[in-house]
């Protein structure tokens, strides 16, 4: 009896070390952050010395114009970059899903931007956007156009960081789309050709609908990532000019280090966390929905 009990416990013994690491490494910091978000806490204080303020940090943020602005910038940035990246990434994948000589080299080149460290990407683009020595303005000048205030104008600076992000992350969508395209059933596409679909109609009526599950997961992954973006923008604009490119991650970091309000920063992080959680849960639910529908169809097919 005793040994049977022991046997039942065995799996838990094996899981225990990982469980401990998970609890310490993941749950403890999160709990710490959640706890801190209820405090009026200055970095010079020990956490125990900070005053308990309840939900004040959270409610304050609702009337904080700068926070609302950065939330708006983040949403704008995330949805614009992801939309552009999906369109270009999917378009490129549809275009390059064929056997042309040298295509594999081309594919590798496309993936390069993703492999570069974000800080380097930020620096690279900052130099290219440089008002007088940057390649963009020099080229414009050589061609006789007026130079553009890439990073110093509040409208252009958002455009500039969008361009940099699109450059870096389109390949991610491209390779996922390409993989999805290449796993589509060949004969279904051939059937569409026999049915008279041209390349455009094949993409629109057959390929894209069949890629939908991959596209939706890719979209959500990219959205989650775009909400958290920090380094590239930090290096390029540091949120400026004004608050025009101050995305939430940047706002949080500034609130903590510049304004020395750890409690408010923690509350902001929790808002961001909740937003991302919402996205993650919707992705999870979507997958579950697809799986359930598949099961239902299978059951129907076997019954019929």
């Amino acid at each position: 009896m005793k040994s049977a009990n022991l046997n039942k416990m065995t799996p838990y013994f094996f899981i225990a070390p990982a469980g401990v690491v998970l609890a310490l490494g993941l749950l403890y910091p999160i709990a710490y952050m959640v706890y801190a978000s209820f405090l009026d806490w200055n970095p010079s204080q020990l956490i125990g010395e900070a005053d308990w303020v309840g939900f004040k940090n959270y409610s304050n943020l609702w009337v904080d114009e700068a926070f609302k602005e950065s939330m708006w910038v983040t949403l704008k940035f995330a949805f614009i970059v992801v939309s552009i990246e999906i369109v270009i990434g999917l378009g490129l994948a549809l275009l390059l899903d064929r056997n042309i000589r040298g295509i594999s080299a081309l594919r590798t080149i496309f993936i390069l931007p993703m492999m570069i460290a974000p800080i380097v990407v930020g620096l690279m683009w900052r130099y290219m956007y440089h008002p007088s020595v940057g390649i963009f303005n020099r080229t414009l000048k050589d061609l006789g156009f007026e130079s553009i205030p890439w990073l110093s104008d509040s409208t252009w600076s958002l455009v500039s960081i969008i361009i940099a992000d699109v450059w870096q992350w389109t390949p991610f969508i491209f390779i996922l789309c390409l993989a999805a395209l290449q796993s589509l059933p060949r004969s279904t596409l051939e059937a569409a050709r026999i049915d008279g679909a041209n390349a455009w109609q094949q993409a629109l009526y057959i390929k894209i609908p069949l890629m939908m599950p991959v596209l939706i997961v890719t979209l959500l992954l990219r959205l989650i990532d775009a909400f958290k973006v920090l380094e590239v923008i930090l290096v390029m604009t540091n949120g400026g000019p004004g608050l025009s490119t101050e995305i939430m991650a940047l706002r949080i970091s500034r609130t903590a280090s510049e304004f020395r309000e750890l409690g408010a920063a923690a509350a902001m992080s929790n808002y961001l966390l909740m937003m991302l959680l919402l996205l993650t849960i919707s992705m999870f639910l979507y997958n579950k929905f697809v799986e359930q529908r598949r099961q239902k169809m299978l059951a129907l097919a076997e019954g019929g």
Binding site: A191, I194, D195, M212, R294, A301, E302
Partner: protein
């Protein structure tokens, strides 16, 4: 319906030629079956007709008009794929009407056509289901329906029954034969199953290694195979082959082998026989009949040791061995032969096929 002609048709993948110079005429309203072992080039040939594979050299003509390099849609063909290739995100109705919708047919015309084909194939109750909600046989029928709705003159089928289980395959084969009577179309059908070829085809084209070995009616191929390959491929269980030497004995032609000596006096084209006398004899399992005890008047006899008796209901297949090669005999199960028996069989001289051992061509 058009006459389809291949003129010197060739297909190469890089330096490798897989279809070698095929000439063939498929008559108006004919059900032509391409049959052969896998890799023989039959599917490639069909896909060239469909326009899914490019033609390396030669021509495909439809009523004299060259179609070799046209897009599939301009060829007046429809196709049924081995794995059905249905559009998984569209319901049955949308699957069947996809081609018509692309061609911008009026809605009323589309629904009229879809309904009449759905009626014929019994798909009416399934029109709003998606392929994932259909069984294998139903999917197969939808694939057929999608091809029929197009109303093209020629229907191409690439092993349409091979993804079905054995029982369903026999059932669908019969349905296909019935459907065939109702529609007025050229059909080109690819299969590796010689039973399907024999039962469905008006004409069978036997292919091997990218060459046409022989074409003709099922009866012609079965009764007068052109070579050893065709003889061995058509018919189940397959023809038995044994080596023999030809000799003239007192005016009659004899084929002598290990344990037998057959008279071949029905042979007409004796001048085609190899000078060396080396031949392969072919005897169908059904042509060997148990010789009655005491009857010595039969000339061509062969005594075989039975290794295995495969009971299959009314008929049994006896497996024997002669000089290391397998010999099967189809007998009435009432004979009650058992493994271990030594049985004397007789064969009519006209049932013995003779093949040149070097060229493997049949000599009649």
């Amino acid at each position: 319906m058009p006459v389809i002609t291949f003129k010197g048709l060739k297909k190469s993948y890089g330096p490798v030629e897989v279809i070698h110079d095929i000439d063939l005429v498929m008559e108006d309203n004919e059900f032509t079956v391409f049959v052969g072992p896998s890799g023989c080039g039959k599917s490639t040939t069909l896909r060239m007709v469909a326009g899914l594979e490019s033609v390396t050299a030669g021509q495909i003509l439809m009523d004299g008009k060259e179609i070799s390099h046209l897009e599939p849609i301009d060829r007046d063909i429809a196709m049924v794929f081995q794995d059905y290739a249905l559009y998984p995100h569209m319901n049955v109705e949308k699957n069947m009407s996809f081609g018509l919708r692309l061609a911008k047919y009026p809605k009323a015309e589309i629904s009229k056509r879809v309904n009449s084909v759905a009626d014929m194939l019994g798909l009416k109750p399934l029109l709003h289901r998606k392929p994932g909600q259909l069984s294998g046989g139903q999917r197969q029928r939808v694939a057929m329906g999608r091809a029929l709705v197009r109303d093209s003159s020629t229907l191409l089928m690439d092993e349409p029954l091979s993804n079905l289980d054995a029982k369903l395959r026999v059932q669908m084969r019969a349905e296909l034969a019935i459907m065939r009577e109702k529609i007025d179309k050229n059909i080109i059908y690819v299969t590796h199953d010689q039973v399907e070829a024999m039962t469905l085809g008006d004409r069978i084209v036997v292919m091997q290694d990218g060459y046409i070995q022989q074409h003709g009616t099922p009866q012609q191929l079965f009764e007068t195979p052109a070579n050893k390959f065709v003889a061995g491929f058509m018919g189940m269980p397959p023809m038995n082959f044994m080596d023999a030497m030809l000799v003239e004995e007192s005016g009659s032609l004899m084929a002598n082998g290990e344990g037998f000596s057959f008279q071949l006096n029905t042979l007409k084209n004796k001048h085609h026989l190899p000078a060396s006398g080396e031949v392969i004899l072919g005897i169908r399992p059904s042509a060997l009949t148990p010789a009655l005890a005491g009857d010595d008047s039969i000339e061509n006899t062969l005594t075989l040791p039975i290794k295995i008796c495969e009971y299959a209901g009314a008929l049994s297949v006896l497996i024997s061995e002669i000089k290391g090669s397998r010999v099967s005999i189809e007998v009435d199960s009432k004979n009650n032969f058992k493994a271990g028996d030594n049985i004397k069989f007789s064969v009519k001289p006209s049932d013995v096929y003779v093949f040149d051992r070097n060229t493997e061509l049949a000599i009649y």
